[in-house]
Amino acid sequence: MHALVSKYVKIFQLGLQDTFVYRWNFFIRLFFAAIPLLGLVFYWRAIFDSGQTTTIGGYSYHGMVFYFLLTLFFEAMLSPVEDDWRIAADIREGTLNALLLRPINYRAYRFTLFLSYRVVYAIVALFPILIVAFFFREYIDLSRSWETYALTVLAAIGAGILGFMITYTVALFAFWILEVSTLVFIVFSLEYFFSGHMFPLDIMPEWIYRIVQWTPFPYELFFVIAVYNNKMNGTELLKGFCIQLLWIVFFYLFSKWLWNRGIKKYTAVGG
């Protein structure tokens, strides 16, 4: 057990060093992610100014801007960056051979690396996010009960794991298709729209929102913010956590199945 843990701690450390080289890349990404906030602030200001109501789908103007600040924060903390390209490259370029020879589980190996990327990203992101937060300080409202904070952390951990599982599953298609970028982009656009990145999902017409709730995408981001904003009560909250867990299990099993099939084909080709 001790050996097992120390093995993955080692991988984690390697991941830290490897990713630190790309810290500028992270920094640029975060910079570009923050820029649209500027447009969103003015766009929603105009919508609220010309609308007949002071709230839209339960969001005040300040609440709306805070929503987008929260998407920026949680995406910086949780969403996989380039993990899919690296996994696909492992498969395509044969780096996987060396990894298969070692007594490690590839998924666990990748997940450990994902965690270390997250740590580096969070550290790199911290300072710029504080600047953004200072700039938009009038919109920020952090007064929540400790229960809400605890539940938010739980939802966020689930969202991170789900995000990784989806990315990992998609990348495994590299066993069959040479260029996974089309697939990656399709999944990315679904995530972009249905994770709540573009706008809070609960301002959509009720029937669409009901359907979207059953897809995995809201549980990568929107769910976390909804929990934080106390948008869900008892049963609804429980339902949300259950759906999130179900999707994690689903992608876990699906990726396992893909891996088993893919690895047969892979070794057969590699001789």
Partner: protein, 268 residues
């Protein structure tokens, strides 16, 4: 000039052969981009369920704006995008050397080797929405307006191209361009807002977003030209910004490319 047309014809043919080899990929991309656009239209629908108009822009004005953004960005994507996305790969693998040896302008060959036919279809989807928006507005633009629209669309495509080309040229220093491509999208997404929403912004910010990173004018000027919308900043001023920005950024992108190339040769 004639030689460039010849070269471009050959590259077009190669692109077509390439697309036909990856038919599934072609349809998937087509579908994805189409859904992406429909999502934008969906968002407009959601927004306008809360208000009738944003400072004089009603739902169908904004639909025409989104259609125009679709048209210009998809035209840009068709002609240039794949090439720009591949640039960092060319640098990393050293394949760029091969392109630089060709007896044509290096920026030309790097920017236009591949053509995306699926994007041309999606550009037409944009046109359909522009026409539909005009129909809903009960508006028939004059020949002059349509002509001015086409001219301003060309300037917009130039801006899309020059702006993203400058961004990906940075990959000579930072090897991964994926972040840059992401930057292009996330900045240009702001072009879909009616220019009136920026009225509250600080004058300096408005100036920067009209001239240096011209997201305020890039889709708004063609739209307003076509619709004859007079609300918001003076159309003459905005058009001036559009043309000035297009020329300015194009020249900058070329200078920056040459500067970056010098860095490249000295690095290897």
């Amino acid at each position: 000039m004639k030689r460039y047309i010849e070269v471009y014809k050959i590259m077009l043919r190669n692109s077509l052969i390439r697309e036909m080899n990856f038919a599934v990929n072609f349809w998937l991309w087509l579908l994805t981009e189409f859904l992406w656009f429909m999502a934008q239209v969906g968002l407009v629908h959601v927004v306008f369920s809360f208000t009738d108009a944003i400072y004089g822009w009603n739902k169908w004005h904004v639909v025409v704006l989104i259609g125009t953004h679709q048209l210009t960005s998809q035209l840009f994507t068709a002609f240039f995008f794949m090439n720009l996305a591949n640039l960092s790969e060319l640098i990393r693998t050293g394949k760029l050397d091969f392109l630089l040896l060709q007896p044509v302008n290096s920026q030309f060959i790097v920017s236009s080797k591949q053509f995306g036919f699926d994007n041309l279809i999606n550009a037409l989807v944009g046109v359909v929405f522009i026409i539909f928006g005009c129909y809903k507005l009960a508006l028939v633009p004059s020949i002059g307006q349509v002509f001015a629209f086409c001219v301003t669309v060309i300037f917009s495509v130039v801006i899309h191209y020059a702006f993203s080309f400058s961004l990906v040229s940075i990959s000579f220093w930072f090897v991964r361009a994926q972040g840059m491509i992401y930057g292009y999208y996330s900045i240009m997404n702001m072009a879909r807002y009616p220019d009136v929403v920026w009225a509250r912004a600080h004058i300096a910010l408005r100036a920067v977003l009209s001239i240096v990173i011209p997201v305020i004018v890039v889709a708004n000027v063609p739209t307003r030209t076509l619709l004859g919308l007079t609300t918001g900043p003076s159309l003459l001023w905005s058009t001036g910004c559009l043309i000035g920005a297009a020329i300015g950024i194009l020249i900058f992108s070329n200078r920056f490319w040459k500067f970056a190339l010098r860095h490249y040769t000295s690095a290897s």
